[in-house]
C-alpha cells in the first residue's frame, strides 16, 4: 500500500492504495465517481475513458501510480457550475445514446479531440472514437452530436 495524492476534477485527494490498483477501480470504488465505466478491462471498449492532462486515456488497465501528478478529469468533472460542456449538451440534443452506458467514454473521447481540434471532420471524429464501442449502435447520432459540438466550440472560440 502506498499513500498517493491525485488531482481529480480539480480537487487534490489523497488515498492509501496498492500502486498496482487500476485508476478505474480507484475512481469508482474508492472515490465513488461511477460515471466512468468498466466495459472490458482490456482497453478495447472505451467505457473507462477519462481525461489525463486533457488526453482521453483508458483507465481500466492504468495503474494508479501513472496518474500521479496529472490532472484527472472524469465525466462528472466536465460540466461547469451546472452548465454542460458543449459535447454533453450536443449528446443530449441529438439523443446520441440508448442505454447510455458508453456515453461517458464517448463524451470524454470527443472532448479530448475537440479541445485540440474543433475543426475535426467526420473522418477524424470516426477515427478518434474508433476505440469506443456503442453496442446499441448509436454511432450515427454520436457523429452528429460531435459535429454539432465542434460547431458550438468553434463559434465560442471565434466569438
Amino acid at each position: 500500500m502506498a499513500k498517493l495524492v491525485l488531482t481529480v476534477n480539480g480537487t487534490k485527494r489523497s488515498v492509501e492504495v496498492s500502486a498496482e490498483e487500476t485508476l478505474l477501480s480507484l475512481l469508482r470504488d474508492r472515490f465513488d465517481l461511477t460515471g466512468t465505466k468498466y466495459g472490458c478491462g482490456e482497453g478495447r471498449c472505451g467505457a473507462c475513458m477519462v481525461l489525463l492532462d486533457g488526453r482521453a486515456s483508458r483507465s481500466c488497465q492504468m495503474p494508479v501510480s501513472k496518474a500521479v501528478g496529472k490532472s484527472i478529469v472524469t465525466i462528472e468533472g466536465l460540466a461547469r457550475n451546472g452548465r454542460l460542456h458543449p459535447v454533453q449538451a450536443a449528446f443530449l440534443e441529438e439523443e446520441a445514446f440508448q442505454c447510455g452506458f458508453c456515453t461517458p467514454g464517448m463524451i470524454v473521447a470527443a472532448v479530448s479531440l475537440l479541445e485540440k481540434n474543433e475543426h475535426a471532420g467526420d473522418e477524424q471524429i470516426a477515427s478518434a472514437l474508433a476505440a469506443n464501442v456503442c453496442r446499441c449502435g448509436t454511432y450515427p447520432r454520436i457523429l452528429s452530436a460531435v459535429r454539432k459540438a465542434a460547431q458550438a466550440m468553434g463559434k465560442a472560440a471565434a466569438g
Binding site: S18, E21, S25, R28, D29, R30, D32, L33, T34, G35, T36, K37, Y38, G39, C40, G41, E42, R44, C45, A47, T74, I75, E76, L78, A79, L84, Q88, A89, F91, L92, E95, F97, Q98, C99, G100, F101, C102, T103, P104, I107, I125, A126, S127, L129, A130, N132, V133, C134, R135, C136, G137, T138, Y139, P140, R141, L143
Partner: protein
C-alpha cells in the same frame, strides 16, 4: 393443413426466452432433490396460499391487476406515478410509456414519473421481451390512464353536483365550461388511492388526435446519462457493501473435485463461500476479491464435449429432439408443387452462435435484512428473477424484492438470474450487502448465446416467377418468423429443436434474423434462377399491402434498379415480424478485393401508429448497426465446448469505421395499432448485405457471419448486371 402450434403463440415463443440450465447447484438443492426423487415424482416448490393471495401490488398473482390503484397514483400536487413491471434497457420505454399515459390522462409529460421493474411496487409482469411493451403494456397503460381520466371527471361532477356530460379533462384539470369552475387532479384526489376497476374497453384517444404521444419527446432523465449521474446496478453502493467474485469452472457443467482456499482466505477481509460446486468470495474491495479468487486452487472434472465450430452444424443435425415440441406448418402438397415447378432449388444456410455483449456486464447487489432479500440487478425479467431467488433460498416470493435500475442494455441477453443468485448467495454468508459485477470474459463465457442453426430450403418456381413449392426446415435456431409472407400454395415449414452444445437463449428478434437470412437469400436465388429482378420477384409473390409498401418505399429511397458503381453491389430483403413490416436495401463496396464495406443502408419500417418518432428512428438505426456485426463478422469461437474468444479484442463488434450512411423511412400508420420496434428492424440487414455481396462478386454466401475473415482470396469483383 395441420398446425400444432402457431409461431406467434406467445407461450410457444416463451420457450426461447427461458434459459435452460442453471449455472449453480447448491448443496441444499441436492438434498432436496434426493427427497424429491426418492418419491419418484417431481414436485414444485409451493408458496403458502395465504401469501400468494395477497392483493394489490407485490401480489404473487400472474395476471395484470384490474385495480386502477395498482397502476397509477396521483399525488395532491397533481404529479402522476405509474407502476409497470417493464424495464428500461435502452429501448426508451420509460419515455414512450409515459407519453402514452400523459396523452390519455391529459397531463404534461413532465408530471408523469414511471416506477419500473421494482417487484415490491409494480404489478406482476412476465418480462421485457418479444416487442410486447408497446402493443401490450402501452395499451394497458393507456386504458389505465383513460379510466383514471373518466374517474376524475366523475369525481368533479359529484363535487359540483352536476352532470359529467359537459365536463372536460385537460391539462391536469377538470373544468366546467358552463360555470368556468376548475379543479386540478391533485385537488380532486388529494393524494388518495384511486378506486376503480380498469375498464375493458375505455375510450382511447385515436393516434390521429395524439398531442404528446406521437411526438419526439426526449429521453426521460437524459441529462443523467451525459453527466455520469445515472446509477446502473454496477454503480450502486450500500452501507457496509462488500465486493463479490465467483470462481468459474473451466467449462459449463464441470464438477468441483477439490479446493484449496488457504492462500485466498489469508488475504485480509476475504470471506470464502463454498456451496456445492459454487465457490466465490466476498471482500472489502473488488481488487482483493479478484486476488482472492486468483489464489484459489481448484480441481474440476470436465464433461467431455466433442463439439467445436468445425463440427457444429453436423452436430446440430444429429441431435434433433424427437417429439412434439417442434412447430410444423403444412399447406397444400409439396410433392405436387415441386412436380409443377420449372425451376427447383435445394440450399442450406447456417448461422453461428453470437453474443449479446451488452456493454454493462451482468451485475447484482444483494442485501439480506430481517429475513428479507433485496437484489438490485439488470434483468429483463424482474419477477422471474424474484421467483428464482425465492426458490433458491427457500423463501416465499414476498420476502424477495428485485429492483431493476435502468440498465446498460440487454438485447434479449439478460433473462437469466445468475448474477442475482450469485450475489445473494455470497451476501448470505458474508452477512453484509455484496456487489457482483461480471467481467467481460465472464459475460462472454457464462451468459448465453443467440442460438446457432442450420436451415434447409427446397423450393420450386414456374418460369413466370410464381413460387409453387416451399419447404423450410430450421434446426435449433428457432421458430420466430419461420413462416413465409409470400403467397405459396404448397408449403411445409418445420422447426426442429436440438440439444444445443452451448447455453443459448433469447436475442434481439430471436430466430427472425436467421429465418429471414435463409428465406430472403433463397428468394434472391430463386429470382436469379427464373431471371427476375429480386424486388420484382418478391412483389410478384406478395400480396400483403403493408409489406409491399415498405419494399416499395425502401426501393424508391434507395434508387433500386439503378446500376451500382464499379466494385459495388446492391441487395434488398424484408419481412414481417411481431407486428412490424420492414424492408432493407444495402450497398456494399469490396475494398482491396477482400474487405466488404457496407456503404449505404436504406430501411423502411412500419410499426403502426408511431409513439415516439425519434426514439423509433434511434431503435431502427441501432438495429441496423447491431445487425452489421451478426451479418459480417460476429461469431462465438469454441473448441470442445470451451469459448476461445471471450474478449472484445477477439470478438469483433461494430465500431465507427463499420458504420454506413443510414437512411430510415418510417411509415406512420395512424389507423393501425402500435407495434414494438426494438427487434424487427434488425431482420433485413443480413440478407440484404448477402444479396449485395453477390451482386458485386457473384459469390453467394450462405453462412452467417458472411465474411469473418474477409472474402476468399481470388474473389472476382465486378459490377454484375442488375438483378444478378
Amino acid at each position: 393443413m395441420s398446425e400444432r402450434r402457431r409461431a406467434d403463440d406467445p407461450g410457444f415463443e416463451l420457450v426461447q426466452h427461458e434459459i435452460p440450465g442453471s449455472l449453480h447447484r447448491f448443496d441444499v438443492d441436492r438434498r432436496d432433490l434426493l427427497k424429491i426423487l426418492g418419491g419418484g415424482v417431481l414436485v414444485c416448490l409451493c408458496v403458502p396460499s395465504s401469501l400468494a393471495q395477497e392483493t394489490g401490488r407485490a401480489s404473487a398473482a400472474r395476471e395484470p391487476p384490474k385495480e386502477l390503484a395498482a397502476w397509477l397514483h396521483i399525488a395532491d400536487d397533481g404529479r402522476v406515478t405509474v407502476y409497470t413491471g417493464k424495464v428500461e434497457v435502452g429501448q426508451n420505454i420509460r419515455t414512450s410509456l409515459a407519453q402514452q399515459v400523459a396523452e390519455e390522462l391529459r397531463v404534461s409529460l413532465a408530471d408523469v414519473r414511471m416506477v419500473m421493474g421494482d417487484t415490491d411496487l409494480v404489478p406482476w409482469d412476465m418480462g421485457t421481451f418479444g416487442s410486447r411493451t408497446t402493443p401490450m403494456m402501452g395499451r394497458e397503460l393507456r386504458s389505465v390512464a383513460a379510466t383514471a381520466r373518466e374517474l376524475l371527471v366523475d369525481m368533479a361532477a359529484e363535487k359540483w353536483k352536476t352532470s359529467r356530460a359537459g365536463l372536460l379533462a385537460q391539462a391536469g384539470k377538470v373544468s366546467d365550461p358552463a360555470t368556468r369552475r376548475t379543479l386540478t387532479y391533485g385537488e380532486l384526489t388529494r393524494g388518495r388511492k384511486l378506486v376503480k376497476v380498469v375498464g375493458e374497453n375505455p375510450a382511447l384517444t385515436p393516434a390521429k388526435d395524439w398531442k404528446i404521444a406521437g411526438t419526439p419527446a426526449p429521453k426521460a432523465d437524459g441529462r443523467d446519462f451525459v453527466t455520469g449521474g445515472h446509477r446502473y446496478t454496477s454503480d450502486l453502493l450500500r452501507p457496509g457493501i462488500m465486493h463479490g467474485k465467483v470462481l468459474r469452472p473451466p467449462v459449463f457443467d464441470a464438477t468441483l473435485v477439490s479446493l484449496d482456499s488457504k492462500r485466498a482466505e489469508a488475504i485480509p477481509g476475504v470471506r470464502l463461500v463454498r456451496d456445492g460446486d459454487f465457490v466465490g468470495v466476498a471482500a472489502a474491495d473488488p481488487w482483493s476479491a479478484e486476488r482472492a479468487v486468483e489464489a484459489l486452487e481448484a480441481k474440476w472434472t470436465e464433461p467431455a464435449s466433442p463439439v467445436s465450430n468445425a463440427n457444429l452444424f453436423a452436430d446440430l443435425k444429429k441431435k434433433v429432439e424427437e417429439g412434439g415440441r417442434g412447430l410444423r406448418h403444412v399447406a397444400g402438397s409439396l410433392e405436387q408443387g415441386l412436380a409443377s415447378a420449372d425451376v427447383k432449388l435445394e440450399r442450406t444456410y447456417s448461422v453461428e452462435y453470437i453474443a449479446h455483449a451488452p456493454l454493462e456486464p451482468r451485475a447484482a447487489v444483494a442485501e439480506w435484512s430481517g429475513g428479507r432479500l433485496t437484489v438490485w440487478t439488470g434483468t429483463q425479467r424482474p419477477f422471474d428473477t424474484r421467483d428464482r431467488l425465492a426458490e433458491t433460498f427457500r423463501l416465499p416470493p414476498e420476502k424477495v424484492r428485485v429492483i431493476v435500475p435502468d440498465t446498460g442494455s440487454a438485447y434479449g441477453g439478460k433473462h437469466a438470474p445468475d448474477a442475482a443468485i450469485e450475489a445473494a448467495r455470497l451476501a448470505k454468508t458474508a452477512g453484509r450487502p455484496v456487489k457482483l459485477v461480471w467481467t467481460r470474459e465472464e459475460e462472454f463465457t457464462w451468459a448465453y448465446f443467440r442460438p446457432a442453426g442450420v436451415i434447409e430450403v427446397v423450393s420450386g418456381a414456374r418460369r413466370d416467377g410464381g413460387i409453387v413449392a416451399w419447404e423450410f426446415h430450421n434446426y435449433n435456431s428457432g421458430p420466430a418468423a419461420i413462416r413465409t409472407p409470400y403467397e405459396i400454395a404448397n408449403q411445409t415449414i418445420q422447426f426442429h429443436p436440438v440439444r444445443s452444445p452451448l447455453r443459448q437463449g433469447s436475442y434481439r428478434g430471436l430466430a427472425a434474423v436467421a429465418n429471414h437470412f435463409a428465406r430472403e437469400s433463397h428468394m434472391d436465388e430463386l429470382a436469379l434462377a427464373v431471371g427476375m429482378d429480386p424486388l420484382q420477384f418478391r412483389l410478384k409473390n406478395l400480396s400483403d399491402p403493408r409489406l409491399r409498401a415498405v419494399f416499395e418505399a425502401a426501393a424508391e429511397r434507395f434508387g433500386w434498379g439503378k446500376p451500382a458503381a464499379p466494385g459495388r453491389g446492391h441487395g434488398i430483403a424484408g419481412g414481417i415480424e411481431k407486428g412490424g413490416y420492414v424492408a432493407t436495401c444495402a450497398e456494399v463496396e469490396i475494398a482491396n478485393g477482400r474487405r466488404v464495406r457496407i456503404r449505404r443502408v436504406v430501411e423502411a419500417f412500419d410499426c403502426g401508429a408511431v409513439v415516439n418518432p425519434d426514439g423509433l428512428r434511434n431503435q431502427i438505426e441501432g438495429a441496423i448497426v447491431q445487425g452489421i456485426g451478426g451479418a459480417l463478422f460476429e461469431v462465438v469461437r469454441f473448441e470442445k465446448g470451451r469459448i476461445v474468444n471471450p474478449r472484445f479484442s477477439q470478438y469483433r463488434v461494430p465500431r465507427f469505421p463499420d458504420v454506413p450512411e443510414i437512411d430510415v423511412v418510417v411509415l406512420d400508420r395512424k389507423g393501425e395499432p402500435s407495434a414494438g420496434a426494438g427487434e424487427t428492424p434488425i431482420v433485413g440487414l443480413a440478407p440484404a448485405v448477402a444479396g449485395a455481396i453477390f451482386a458485386a462478386t457473384g459469390l453467394r454466401l450462405r453462412a452467417l457471419p458472411l465474411v469473418p475473415e474477409g472474402l476468399p482470396a481470388g474473389t472476382r469483383v465486378s459490377p454484375a448486371p442488375s438483378g444478378r
